[in-house]
Symmetry: C2
Subunit: 246 residues, 2 copies
DNA sequence: TAACTTTGTGTAATTCTTACACATTAAACG
DNA sequence: CGTTTAATGTGTAAGAATTACACAAAGTTA
């Protein structure tokens, strides 16, 4: 099988050259990444948006994005945006979907890879004021630039689903949090009300919460216990899918 | 807010031109789509592979893919491959992930968008013999060309998860199928054994199966009932996610 | 010290999941 | 034609998970 004859080798080199020329010439497009950066503040789910350079006059907001350099991995490009815009490097980031319609961008063919990121809004407050960068409550996001509304919607739906099978949502909270905060978070993301006792029971039953032995401070009522999430334990024990459930 | 002053307009045009030049010049990469095409035959889950043009001498197999033309949508490009290679046009196709590592392809920077497709292998048998196109059982797929092993693995994992929340798996079966076939399908995809009675109970409880009033033919034992899947009913009733379950 | 607000906890009813066995049907074989 | 073979079709009881729901305790504020 693995007879590497001279002809085969030459044929192969020829084919490679052909592909290379195809790759180099006409068949190229611009590639960008766009990040949907979620935060959680005042019990609301928020998204970080920037006033679009382009179309500024229409006062439209857009997602944070940039062109991918020819020598840059996609993930790297997305991390770069996060670092640049929020100053954070240790963030949850996951690719969601690629949008490649021919006419999606006014500047020509630009295919964009959408990433979803979740950050702790408190670690970050500082860097915001410069630029035209602002947090927007998800319900209020209605008319973004380009096809960013669609991209945002895809990422939000993705988050709502993903958060039910993976503890990524916790990236939105401080390291120590109360169960009320945790519940508020899920209620905000899923846009539903949950039963407090059952929510609590469920999370304790998962057994990933570590009691920090501390209570909340400066609350005008009985303070709640603070917990952290044990990611290591989660990684070991995480649910191995099985059950058909349309 | 919406004051469209002349300066703003001019500034905007200038910005657009700047982006256009960035988009047109250096910041471009080749884009391809790769399809992981699943089929189901002899109670095994299979994938359609082609002998790589390139690296042919190493007898490696690869996924079916092609460069995306500058005037072609991503989904269109993926459909095109399916049409071209299988002759089928009415297939289940979904984007899974985009792979964009700088050095993933020997011919230069090629970012590829991976699609997953499920086809009914019986509607298709004919077109296979030409080309170096073959079905491979998923367990036997170990050493594909380029990073195709990684792409295949991502799509297979995606399928295993997706099939538990969406009836896409049924695209792999004929329109009329027995419950045994259906169970074999799920067992093959998930690579587990399922209890026959409970499986049956579960599917009937979903209430998406329509009794065709016919039995299997030419089986050397008691024939099973044939059913079809009611996609319309599914679309109406489909489960609205809710439950946290890591 | 009384009023307020939110925490923390338990149980009963219901639904869902799992494990498991036997009679039935058709084809194949002698 | 009767026996064997191989799969279909069905029900139930035990256990697990989910839901709905109410009251005492702990701090803060006035």
């Amino acid at each position: 099988m693995a007879v590497t004859s001279k002809e085969n080798l030459q044929k192969n080199i020829k084919t490679l050259k052909k592909i290379q020329s195809e790759v180099q010439s006409i068949n190229r497009v611009a590639l960008s990444v766009d990040c949907v950066i979620f935060g959680f503040d005042e019990n609301k789910l928020k998204v970080l948006l920037i006033r679009s350079d382009l179309k500024k006059y229409q006062s439209k907001w857009s997602l944070l994005g940039d062109l991918v350099k020819p020598d840059e991995d996609l993930d790297t490009a997305a991390y770069h945006i996060l670092k640049q815009r929020t100053g954070l490097h240790d963030v949850y980031l996951e690719q969601v979907h690629t949008f490649g319609e021919v006419n999606r961008h006014p500047a020509g063919r630009v295919v964009t890879v959408a990433y979803c990121s979740l950050i702790n809004i408190q670690h970050h407050r500082l860097k915001i004021l410069d630029h035209e960068l602002h947090w927007h409550a998800v319900e209020s996001i209605t008319d973004l630039a380009f096809d960013h509304q669609k991209i945002f919607q895809a990422c939000y739906s993705w988050l709502q689903k993903r958060v039910q099978e993976h503890p990524l949502g916790l990236s939105l909270l401080p390291n120590k949090f109360s169960l009320r905060e945790l519940q508020n978070l899920y209620e905000a993301i899923l846009n539903i009300k949950l039963d407090r006792r059952n929510f609590r029971k469920k999370f304790f039953a998962m057994d990933f919460l570590v009691d920090m032995g501390e209570d909340e401070q400066n609350v005008p009522h009985r303070p709640g216990r603070l917990y952290k999430f044990d990611y290591e334990k989660y990684e070991k024990k995480k649910k191995t899918w099985s059950g058909i459930d349309f």
